[in-house]
Symmetry: C2
Subunit: 198 residues, 2 copies
DNA sequence: TAAGATACGGAGGCAGACTCCGGTTGGCAA
DNA sequence: TTGCCAACCGGAGTCTGCCTCCGTATCTTA
């Protein structure tokens, strides 16, 4: 599970190439979305396409390497939120982080959503900690009576990703719009006395 | 708005080929999703790829032809729902139809969402009536006090498409799951006394 | 410094989008 | 019925990107 310490350390040139590939992939994904040309990534990094594929057999593997740091941070943040006094607010904060992570690159939500179905994918494993922490936050908020008890983690993730994706589709929106959509999701579309902020 | 009556009627062979292309495209999209190979569509229809591109310059144009009937029916249904006694239930019914239309073919929600941003696209025009009818339904439900007054049509469409997309991502789900997700969206995730069905 | 394990690179095969233009044909006028 | 030509057809060709394979180059270690 720790790609940083394989049985044998990488040769110096291999290590160098791998690092440059990750850096250039990040730039390419940011510019062109997750569908960026891998040949272009290799060219930017000054290596051949064969080298890219040796290090990262699939696009998802490369994506995972690029996102690893972000995911780790989000998992840690989620665990920290468990100590937070307000369960519902903590869950909402986690959901926002989850949604934002999914919109880092254009098309990322779709890629994540697809690979999360596939338990053999590198991205799946990489997300697991983040989701597990989310589950704990959800359970706590439900025990506190602030979030409906019939909601499952799967449903919550699905909805949050759906909102993140929908937000990503509209090029004219900003972070405030994502907050607004998440608030609508949490509060619902129906008129009822607003819950006082937790 | 009426692509069926151009300045000059199509020549008999052209008409025949166009009809076969639409029929085969529907089958191919149903089988392989909206990313189905257009060369394959042309082959199934027994015409050259050039013929396909002459009739439908873009994948969206072909998609529009395939979906036209469905969209027209949904617009009509939405207008009929305006006479419905229960505004909130009527809006929810429309939302479900909207979401279901978006999941007819795998990948359709994404395609629709993308082209709806582009006012020059054929799909955009084709959806306009459907969305306009939805706006009327929303306004009515808001005037009745059943749906929060601060919700815009744009937000509602975004959220419904987000839910439809998220539902489509999970291959293990059925129509009942879509209903459940839409119910969560309408009612919200927060615990409050449930609204009595309108 | 030499051997061999490790890594590199890009040619090449494949697939699908889209264009272009020589050849074909349906439909109308005489 | 015939002849004409605008309208239409078809698929070869070009381009882009994915991914594999293997001869060559480089690093590491003894």
């Amino acid at each position: 599970m720790d790609a940083e310490t394989p049985a044998r350390p990488l040769r110096a040139d291999a290590r160098r190439n791998r690092d440059r590939l990750v850096a250039e992939a990040r730039a390419a994904f940011a510019q062109d979305g997750v569908a960026a040309s891998l040949e272009d990534v290799a060219a930017r990094a000054g290596v051949g396409i064969g080298t890219l594929y040796r290090h990262f057999p699939t696009r998802e593997a490369l994506l995972e390497a690029v996102l690893r740091e972000r995911f780790d941070a989000l998992g840690a943040e989620a665990r920290a939120l468990l100590g937070h006094a307000a369960p519902r607010a903590a869950l909402l904060t986690w959901a926002r982080g989850f949604a934002e992570a999914g919109t880092t690159f254009r098309g990322l939500t779709a890629a994540l959503s697809a690979t999360l179905q596939d338990e053999t994918s590198a991205l799946h494993a990489s997300c697991a900690a983040m989701r597990t922490a989310g589950e704990a936050l959800l359970t706590r908020a439900q025990h506190g009576g602030e979030i409906r008890a019939d909601l499952t983690v799967a449903e919550l993730s699905t909805l949050v990703f759906g909102v993140a994706w929908a937000h990503e589709q509209n090029p004219r929106t900003g972070p405030a719009d994502l907050d607004r959509l998440l608030a609508l999701l949490f509060d619902g579309l129906t008129t009822r006395p607003p819950r006082t902020p937790a």
